[in-house]
């Protein structure tokens, strides 16, 4: 069963790569200004040279050969060259990806810890304020655009990963709270309390453990949310990660760079989802 899930996710990753590649190549091909080059206006080139450039471009204008060429490049780790940075995209990604990965990991870790720490007292103590205070906080944070939080953190000179925590926290908290609330209402929890088990043990064995598969699934989804939030936060906080790279590429209309960044992030997110789903399957199998 686990093997089937792994194969399914590998196929999905491959399919995504192909589809994203085709969409990316189509976007690049049909973007306004595609094929317009400075050298066409350069009087130093002869008429023959300009004809040669035109013929070369005409080959690129047919979408299928263009896509096949693009795909072969990807398979050989050749992501093209960034127009605005005049640098290979591979080098840019190698520089920027670790920065974003660090911020996303730190932000997710803090957001998950905060969500569990704030949701558990509300579930176990069943006091209105224990539930109300974090819910109001989460609701308020959900109403603030990520970019505005990024701007506030930039102005206060606070780290970008902390802003990322605040963006992801309310989304995780709502799911975690609802799952734990449902789990805590199960008759087994009441029975465990009646049997005199300690609260910590009840929370771990009877509240958290039964909803572990769902929590793992939410963990996979939260990776995508964190990467999406990274764009405005990095752009506004001046962090040199892939989020700000995507933003600069969008402003500079550097589509090859933007498409490759999007594909790379999509693959990371899909891989995170796949790992979460494989973990869910493993937990289900163990429980069965």
């Amino acid at each position: 069963m686990t093997f089937r899930v792994v194969v399914h996710h590998l196929c999905l990753l491959l399919f995504t790569l192909l589809i994203c590649g085709l969409l990316g190549a189509t976007l690049v091909r049909y973007a306004p200004g595609f094929g317009a080059e400075e050298r066409d206006l350069d009087a130093r080139y002869s008429a023959e040279s300009r004809t040669a450039f035109r013929l070369e471009r005409e080959r690129e204008e047919r979408i299928v050969p263009f896509y096949v060429q693009h795909l072969f490049g990807l398979l050989h780790g050749e992501f093209g060259r960034s127009r605005i940075f005049d640098q290979p995209v591979r080098e840019l990604l190698a520089d920027r990806l670790p920065v974003t990965m660090r911020a996303v990991s730190l932000g997710l870790l803090t957001a998950w810890s905060a969500s569990l720490l704030l949701a558990l007292p509300g579930v176990s103590r069943r006091r209105a304020w224990c539930d109300m205070a974090p819910s109001v906080l989460a609701g308020t944070l959900l109403s603030v655009p990520a970019a505005l939080l990024g701007l506030a953190f930039f102005l206060m000179e606070w780290p970008a990963w902390a802003a990322l925590t605040l963006v992801v926290f309310p989304r995780i908290f709502r799911y975690v709270r609802n799952l734990l609330e449902q789990s805590a209402a199960a008759p087994a929890v009441l029975q465990a309390r009646a049997a005199g088990l300690r609260e910590g043990r009840i929370l771990l064995l009877y509240v958290i453990l039964p909803v572990l598969p769902e929590l793992l699934a939410v963990a996979g989804v939260s990776a995508g949310q964190a990467f999406s939030a990274a764009i405005p936060l990095e752009a506004l906080c001046g962090v040199a990660g892939v989020g700000s790279l995507a933003w600069q590429a969008a402003l500079g209309r550097d589509l090859p760079l933007l498409i490759n960044v999007t594909m790379m992030v999509a693959l990371i997110v899909l891989a995170a989802n796949a790992i979460a789903e494989i973990a869910v399957t493993a937990v289900h199998r163990r429980a069965a």
């Binding site: 609701g139 655009p145 505005l148 701007l151 102005l155 989804v221 405005p232 969008a250 209309r253 999509a266």
Partner: protein
């Protein structure tokens, strides 16, 4: 809690009403420049002062909230329509159709959609006229934001599919398309309405993110997102504290939506 919800409804209705009647309430056109009075403090003539170009900030806020709120609703309607088409078709037809529809949905759901939005937005001309940039921004939001709704619609369709009236329609010779349009979708109305309302605050926030990054609605057309760009430095906020008005309005609108939706979701 009921009082808070009623208050949220009243506030939302007032804000929507005020932005709908922007022509009546605004003291000037959103693009009209008072060149002799740039960066003016709030006064009776300019309730929220003027910006760098001498445009009345209050009027721009009214017009901007109209752009953000009404077009977010239009984008939500488009997203709900696509979600209904994909979810109902997949859920009713089942088999390969369902698998294909749900694989596509899962794929869109698992991608970081702000990256997709940025890629799609950048592929279009950045020097597009304001009206076109505004339509493009919200059209893209609607086009990319349907996936979560499609899963809900598909689950609801599977429940409706087993009902007796669908069985009877099938027995009387109705084709799948007719059953979906005439029997399934009308019975999914509560689900579709809930999805529509849930999408609006998401799209308002997405437009604000794009606007703040300079990729949303283009000048001189105002929107809540583009108006947030004025808050770019601490010294500016300290000198002109009234420039935070769009941020406060945005916070108020989305908070009201959260309160209203939280209340409405329970009975559903």
């Amino acid at each position: 809690m009921k009082i808070v919800r009623t208050l949220a409804w009243v506030l939302l209705a007032s804000i929507f009403g005020a932005s709908a009647g922007a022509e009546l309430l605004a003291l000037a056109d959103y693009s009209q420049q008072f060149r002799e009075s740039p960066n003016r403090a709030p006064s009776a003539q300019f309730p929220l002062g003027t910006d760098d170009l001498g445009r009345d900030r209050f009027s721009r806020l009214l017009y901007g909230s109209r752009v953000s709120l009404f077009l977010a609703a239009a984008a939500a309607a488009l997203a709900t329509l696509i979600a209904a088409a994909v979810g109902a078709t997949g859920g009713y037809l089942g088999g390969v159709w369902e698998k294909t529809a749900m694989s596509g949905t899962d794929l869109v759901l698992s991608l970081p959609w702000l990256f997709l939005l940025l890629a799609a937005r950048a592929a279009l001309p950045l020097n597009a006229p304001p009206l076109a940039s505004m339509s493009i921004t919200f059209f893209l939001l609607g086009l990319l934001g349907w996936a979560a709704g499609a899963r809900v619609v598909r689950a609801a369709t599977r429940a409706v599919k087993e009902s007796e009236y669908v069985l009877q329609a099938r027995a009387s010779g109705c084709g799948p398309f007719r059953i979906i349009v005439a029997h399934v979708l009308p019975n999914l109305k509560p689900v579709l309405i809930a999805q529509f309302w849930l999408s609006i605050p998401t799209f308002i926030l997405s437009e604000a993110n794009l606007g703040l990054l300079g990729l949303g609605v283009s000048e001189p057309m105002p929107s809540l997102g583009t108006m947030l760009r004025e808050m770019e430095s601490v010294s500016r906020i300290a000198s002109y504290p009234w420039i935070v008005a769009p941020a406060l309005l945005l916070l108020l609108v989305v908070s009201c939506f959260q309160v209203v939706l939280r209340g409405e979701q329970r009975p559903l």
